[in-house]
Symmetry: C2
Subunit: 480 residues, 2 copies
């Protein structure tokens, strides 16, 4: 028995029994990752990496359409450079990996492996920006970063992860704020259109901001288990970094001004979000837009005359329009069904001798297992429509899950009751904006603030914690 | 004056005066890189990174067409893992960066930042390969690697660089050897077709092999200054790593066998090769296939009615077929000409009021400054043909340089004379295959062995060094 066959002998843990185990079963059995001997670092296998490549391609197009250019910054940051912005170093120093030796020689200054690259972009911007004609600078970088986390989980929290980090410099505060919002919207659109993943858009509270930011915007998604996933963030820095790194430009009146900056990022964590938004007890369910294989062709009774030929002919025809694969191995039909369900391929195309006689084949959807008989002549349009429908259905199902698990509460006791009766989810509640109340609710109920949503609702006029006048509505939840 | 304008005030150093300075002038003034505060690490700026993205896209297509899949391995290698293959660790340990601390804690085992990922791929392969049905594994990775070099130069030798590393595992020695050769050919084809860069294909001598390899194949290119650049390598490992890492499979007879492996890589160094193959004293000359901008449109007398509109109309039309940009800034025409020559844009398209009357525009080639007047109606076909011709011309010019600078020598004295009379270049000479002679020639003449070319010629029967019977012809040269 090959490695490939072995892994399917045992089914995956049901998510109702143990959600965490269900998750790690999927990432291993759908061939997304392998563990390595470096704790907290993972091997992203071809099937997992192909999903990331599709995510990258789609996001990169959106970044370029909004005027951004890609660059590459060094992997290392000298300790003195990291320390230039006070809040930033305080936030990151405790969780960076330090390089102390090059070959046999001890370095005169320690270098940290980038946990994020604000300091490097700032140093570069201070070199290349002089005049208002040099602005805005709209840069993005695709790279790996390292954060020395204590507890790790594949895709969700790993010591090394892949991401993109946008870093922009603008002449005015207004332009920088607009950029921060624009990129949060790009992320939210991407999540909806490409990952079929609904998100709540909002702002992080003061205590939950990025280290060094004036404001952090976030998109928050709700997973199958009712826990929230911070899926992407966009930060407005004002001129704080510009002052620390002396990034100035001469404006049209020849006056020296500081630039206003932003940064924004999403990571391989999106793959974790995709798994926990759409997966089921048979395995992954991959949204069509990022599926490495959109249609898997399975010849039925492939030893019979003409079946394999027809299956291969269909593959050659369909791969002009879709990402198509064929499995003509001698594994059993049952094994193949299970394998491609596990991998979450959106459409299974079955073709056997009787289908060929009727000039048709069978399409089976991964998401709802609906079966359709489609004439060869209508295959492209049927598949195209089906992929689009799967994409919308997945979104609607995930949105329904989010809505069903979003609860309005007016007191800490109500939060405790809702969580114990209905399980985890988003809690919407009014808040007085004091950090003390935010902290207290977390201690008393276990849910932390997720964001101050842009779409505010007036649920009441009292803070869920202290009962004093409320200023804003907050989303609360347990988080990954 | 903006940063952008400033840099053009001073011209670049002529390559005849100081080739090294000419090179660093170009990488800075064509906006390819910026230096960072980490010695030996560079910032790859948008124009430089766009060239790398085009290189990546082209190579990635070739890798996928030859059946390879992309994966991502961890950045870190535990010291004990690096040590598993004796020759490999000896080759790399002196030049790796060591991570010793995560946050405040000292690690129990040092981690090196990957200088190359054989050990990580081997560990993964030992996990996932069990049966002959799991073979071959044809993996590739795009990533950053770190080697703690003493002297560094942008693109050519940097402490961090970007590359791809292919790592494959096969059932038989023959398959692995075929793969090693196949990928060297993919590299050579890419250099010729895409970078217009001729290369000599051959095998490295025993003393010059990759640490841990049974054989290293190489492609060697000759730069403007007569120095050789190792542009890509492909290694055959036999089952050495498989034995060190216990990578076995059961064959069809259910017998346990070791796999046979290869690895192969090219790096951002290719950008350095491109610069030194085609650049001139006006700046970069970028081959059309990787040029971020293939056609730059410059409106002439753009304040006159209709000029800008027509220029923009042409851009909208041409960007359906080519990578096109327009410079409608208020910089002078002279400044613009110099700027896009510096950046090596293959074709400059000038359009002014009189051209518009005649329904034509002017195309100027970067490589030979030839000017053509082209009717609007024939623009796409003319540009397409011109880009193809530029690509071929660049190749032929570089090949002529290589041929003109390749010298046949029979003795060490001849080598010394040729070098002092004609300058650096490739030396073809016969060799007895002893490491001692290889070493001696280097000491006496300054040129080292570049490769044992696949295309052998019988130049004589005596070794260039000892005069004893020669076994093979070797290419010698000074190298980057």
């Amino acid at each position: 028995m090959s490695q490939e066959q072995k892994k399917l002998v045992e089914a995956i843990t049901a998510m109702e029994d143990d959600f965490a185990k269900w998750y790690t079963d999927i990432v291993k059995k759908a061939d997304l990752i392998d563990y390595s001997s470096v704790k907290g670092c993972m091997v992203i296998r071809p099937y997992g990496y192909a999903i990331w490549e599709n995510i990258q391609k789609d996001l990169d197009r959106r970044f370029k359409e909004t005027g951004h250019e890609n660059v590459y910054m060094p992997l290392f940051i000298p300790e003195s450079l990291l320390q230039k912005e006070k809040d930033h170093v305080e936030g990151f120093a405790p969780e960076v990996a330090w390089v102390t030796h090059g070959g046999d020689e001890k370095l005169t200054e320690r270098l940290c492996v980038r946990p994020t690259s604000e300091t490097l972009f700032c140093e570069h911007y201070s070199n290349i920006i002089e005049s208002h004609r040099d602005l805005p600078k709209l840069y993005n970088q695709w790279c790996n970063v390292v954060r020395w986390e204590k507890t790790t989980r594949p895709f969700l929290r790993s010591r090394e992860f892949l991401w993109q980090e946008g870093h922009t410099a603008h002449a005015t505060k207004q332009e920088a704020v607009e950029e921060t919002e624009r990129m949060l919207n790009v992320y939210a659109d991407f999540c909806r259109e490409t990952l079929s993943m609904p998100v709540v858009k909002g702002r992080k509270t003061e205590s939950d901001k990025f280290a060094g930011a004036k404001a952090t915007y976030t998109i928050e998604a709700l997973m199958h288990d009712g826990k929230a996933l911070q899926a992407g963030t966009s930060h407005y820095f004002g001129d704080g970094f510009a002052k620390a790194f002396d990034i100035t430009y001469t404006d049209k009146d020849n006056t020296l001004q500081y630039v206003h900056q932003t940064s924004w990022g999403v990571t391989t964590r999106l793959i974790g979000g995709m798994i926990m938004s759409h997966g089921d007890n048979n395995g992954l369910v991959v949204p069509p837009a990022v599926a490495p294989i959109q249609v898997i062709i399975l010849p039925v009774a492939q030893h019979k005359a003409g079946v394999l030929e027809k299956a291969r002919e269909l593959k050659a025809r369909l791969e002009k329009s879709f990402r198509v694969n064929i499995d003509d191995s001698d594994n059993s039909a049952g094994w193949k069904f299970a394998e491609y369900e596990m991998k979450g391929v959106p459409i299974r195309l079955e073709i056997g001798p009787r289908d060929i006689e009727k000039e048709q084949c069978v399409l089976v959807r991964r998401d709802n297992r609906e079966k359709s008989f489609i004439k060869f002549s209508e295959l492209e349009s049927a598949i195209d429509a089906m992929l689009k429908d799967i994409s919308v259905s997945l979104y609607e199902k995930a949105l329904k899950n989010q809505n069903d698990r979003t609860y309005i509460c007016h007191t800490a006791d109500e939060i405790i009751n809702v969580l114990s009766e209905k399980g985890d989810g988003f809690i919407k509640a009014m808040w007085c904006e004091s950090e003390e109340c935010e902290e207290k609710i977390k201690e008393q109920t276990g849910v932390g603030s997720r964001c101050i949503p842009f779409e505010q609702e007036a649920l009441g006029d009292k803070c869920v914690c202290c009962g004093k006048p409320a200023k804003t509505m907050l989303y609360w939840g347990k988080s990954y």
